[in-house]
């Protein structure tokens, strides 16, 4: 199924039709449409699924961002009108975030996963706690530290690789 999702994503990313701009939701919904087909599969538990969905989404988005970066020549201003909402936030650079998360995973897998579940999976603190089998307070603490650590990584802070 993961492969299937990936294929869908790739097909969209490849931009089969010039002039066809992929909507954010289209990808996700197609993912859903495929996923619900497999609803008869025996999901061992919800946690397994949520963790997988978050991982999946991370992979799809990061791969897309990478593909896009490789195609890009120069910056393009994205005006997020219509379906895409204007936000005041500057989004994190996905590729840098992914790199930083991988680095974090090497030294603290759980905290890395907290971010993956919260950010890519969209899980609430409580849901994350269920998935990781820890208390919600722990998720909050893990998440604070992980974010601080990532923020420093992403802002180009000093690395201590010793």
């Amino acid at each position: 199924m993961e492969q299937e999702l990936h294929r869908i994503a790739q097909r969209h990313m490849a931009g089969e039709r010039p002039g066809h701009s992929l909507q954010a939701t289209a990808l996700v919904n197609e993912a859903y449409l495929r996923l619900i087909n497999v609803q008869k599969m025996d999901w061992q538990n919800r946690a397994h699924f949520l963790a997988m969905a978050a991982r999946l989404m991370r992979r799809i988005l990061v791969d897309s961002a990478r593909a896009r970066r490789n195609q890009k020549r120069g910056g393009v201003k994205i005006t997020l009108d219509e379906e895409l909402l204007v936000t005041a936030d500057r989004p994190p650079d996905l590729l840098a975030l992914d790199d930083a998360l991988q680095a974090l995973e090497k030294i603290d897998a759980r905290r890395s996963q907290v971010i993956e579940l919260r950010f890519f999976g969209g899980l609430t603190v409580d849901e994350t706690a269920i998935v990781l089998k820890v208390a919600p307070d722990t998720v909050m603490r893990d998440s604070r530290l992980a974010k601080a650590w990532l923020a420093r990584e992403l802002s180009g802070g000093t690395r201590h690789d010793t």
Binding site: L35, D81, D93
Partner: protein, 983 residues
Amino acid sequence: MTPERFKQISRIYAAARLRAASDRGAFLTEACAGDASLQREVQALLEQPTEGLEGLTPSVIAQAIGNADNGGLTGRQFGVYLVGERIGVGGMGEVYRARDTSLPRDVAIKVLPQAFANDADRLARFEREARVLASLDHPHIGTILGVEESDGIRALVLGLVEGDTLAERIARGPIPLAEALEYARQIADALEAAHEKGIIHRDLKPSNIKITAAGVVKVLDFGLAKAGPLPSSDVLGATVTASGVVLGTAAYMSPEQARGQVVDKRADIWAFGCVLYEMLTGRDAFAGLTPSDTLAAILERDPDLGALPATTPAGIERLLKRCFEKDPKRRLRDIGEARVEIDDAERAQALHAGSSVPTSTTTPVRSSPEPISRRWLAAALLSVVAIVAALLLVSTRGRVPAASAPGQFYVGVTPADSFGPGPTRANPIFPYPTRTDVALSPDGTLLVFSARKEGRQQLYLRALTQLEATPIAGTEDSNSPFFSPDGQWLGFWTGVVDAGAIGELKKMRLDGSPAVPLARVPPLRGATWGPTDIVFATVEGEGRLWRMPAGGGTPETLTRLDSKDRRNHLLPHMLPDGRSVLYTIAPPNFANPQIAVLSLVTGETHVVLDQGVDARYVSSGHLVYVRDGTLMAVPFDLKALRVTGTPSAIVKGLMQAVRTGFISVGDTGAAQFSVSNNGVLVYVRSAPVRDLVMSLVWVDRKGTVTPTSVPPGPYGGPRVSPDGQRVLLWKSGGGTLIHDLVRGGLMPVAPGVWPTFSPDGKQFTFSEPSGFVSMSLDGGVTDRFATDGVKVAGSWSPDGQTLLFTRLGADGVWEIHALSRTGGERKVHPAGKTTITERYPQFSPDGEWFVYSSNEQGEEQVYVERYRSAADRHPISTNGGTAPVWAPSGRELFYEAPAPELEHIRMMAVDVTLSPTFAAGIPDVLFEGQYNPGTPQRHYDVSRDGRFLMLQGPQSPHPPPVTQMVLVLNWFDELKRLAPSDR
């Protein structure tokens, strides 16, 4: 860094965070015990923000995939244009700067989305409008240079407008009054020019409005938006409305758009109000955390005018109020009026400018634009992964707590045209279903609904994994779909919904195998499928509730009607135990309806809830039912079979079959919603059913129409007084009016409806809930006749002693009764218990005979019968007839016959002889036209001079077709929040 080191860091970091910032330095020094590198590390982390990263925002996704194609058109030749850099990307396509190689100018090229370009109708309309706009060459409308096609790509060539959008401008803060009014005037100017050409913008919002450096407004993207509120055909596909993704668009949607109705220029006027409000206050006129919140705000709340700058002229505030009228009919009629209002305000500003504080710099204290909260981000994120998650959770069948936020989607009826049966000959007024016509499979994966396409109604199936529904073969003219508990079978009823009609209860598997007929029964009033039996309600039988083996067999009645109270048993829904059924007990007008439980084992019943209709038990532990078009929920104890909490309103504006204008077979109370066992809700919103506005006209025998001085209105049943001086009319919503044909005028005269004159014309009789009331023409009550139920006066006998009238029986058909001043009341027709409708009784001028219509032969036909001698009966009409009336001379009969065109009738005339024996001639067509829709009273009359007083119309359009349903995932969470159990 090693994991061990990181653990050390994290311990100290966590401990440090518990301390006040001022104490942290000392704490770190102590905790790190001289390890300077450790201390630096923790210190650095403590300085980092810990916000964000709580979910994917649309901007993150856009970053990843927003432009994930091959770089688009940049560098390519497109017609005569050399395409340059991409200057924007949005939902309606990408925009490029391009060089016109034939003229020394730069243009903007907007590539139309594929879905748009593939929609031939929409594209044609758009191109037509684009041409008109181009011909306008308006200073405040973005120049449209043409629609070009090259290499299969369709694009719009636009004048290049440099400058900020109004959205960008507002993002920097509210716009000073004078400046805002100037922009508003230019926007109004643009809309006015377009509206004059019949072009509606449909999606006016700040991001579609550009302001050049010179302060000139350019309104862009006319007509690009879909006519409906959301691209309904794309369902779970392209447009997720769940979580802020279309918020930007939703915020400017008019109530009628939000309801999925067809829009006209008044939707632009609404949006104009939103834009003006936003310019002045810096905040959205209607804001919600989620689109559904926003839509709720649009439908239910008024914007906070207190947020306007204190200097806002009263005229502008008034203008905003008029733009924000929820009812389009009451909204500012013409954007030109806005321009006038703004001109006035600007003039007033200019007068004051010299003497007082410059208003352009004053902005009163107001709250800052709502910050993007975490919850908001979380909501936005839901649009993405959480939908996957939510739906998967749904599929795990509630073994785990469901995800936290409900997701809401619009589901279109495509490829069908509209939800429900649409206008039919039996019911041209109420185009919506009179039976529950949506059903979700128990596992929430399949949706079945009835819809109409090209004049044909049938059932459609949509797996939620599909992008479109497919018609189910063999379900033509079917309604009332319901699933078996295992989701393998679909039950439904096939036939024409009409008084006295018989159709077939059927079942089918959804694998394409043919339908299996189960029983021949009148139109259903609800059906439900238990472990072994199907329980259904229809107009026949003692208790109206029936059961039959789902495998086939003979139906048997279940409940026993209380013979006194004329209340129906209908809308059954099986409880999960399979041994008891919820059902509704209600009189035909649905006054004081109740929900009861019937035990299929013992046959016992008890009432569980008052003021409820169409209750279903849902596995969150609630009864969900409808009260006055609002979906209600109340916790329910399945063991004790009683409610355990207070009812809460959940969804307003649910479509329900009451006040359908077709009370005999249409008012079933059936609500358009369905809930799966795992918390998926589907429902249909109702467009408000409007009164039919009719014109009172004279029509002569040749069909020549002469207007009267009565203004058009929601009238019914004109009756001319015998002296030809006065007319009685009843009004939708209640009340009888009197019109003086000589002196004019229209005066309310009585509170009831369905009036008929006494033979001498000095009095009239009308219906009230408690019975009939006779009144003199000056308004004094002269008599009262107590009788219950829904009843309509037909006519008095010439001696004034007997009133023929119709009453709506509990089985949904009209019966003819006679009320005597001396002998009480008796039923005249039909004899015995039948499902035949007989109505429109009228005595002949000599009182010996009466005319009426009956559908005992199938089609409704006109008969004359000797009063009190039923055997002496004579058919009058030959090809269908209804609403007969005697000519005052008694030598001729008139009646309405069906005309080929929907909503039209043919006025027929038949010569009759009453004595010595009755004889009738051959019916002749007098004229044909759009007259007299609806029942239950004859909506025309004949004057002594042989002219017809008719109601022509309707002048107002029918309720708009409904093209989408609303699908809510994880609805149980919301339910538990909104309707908590008291225990």
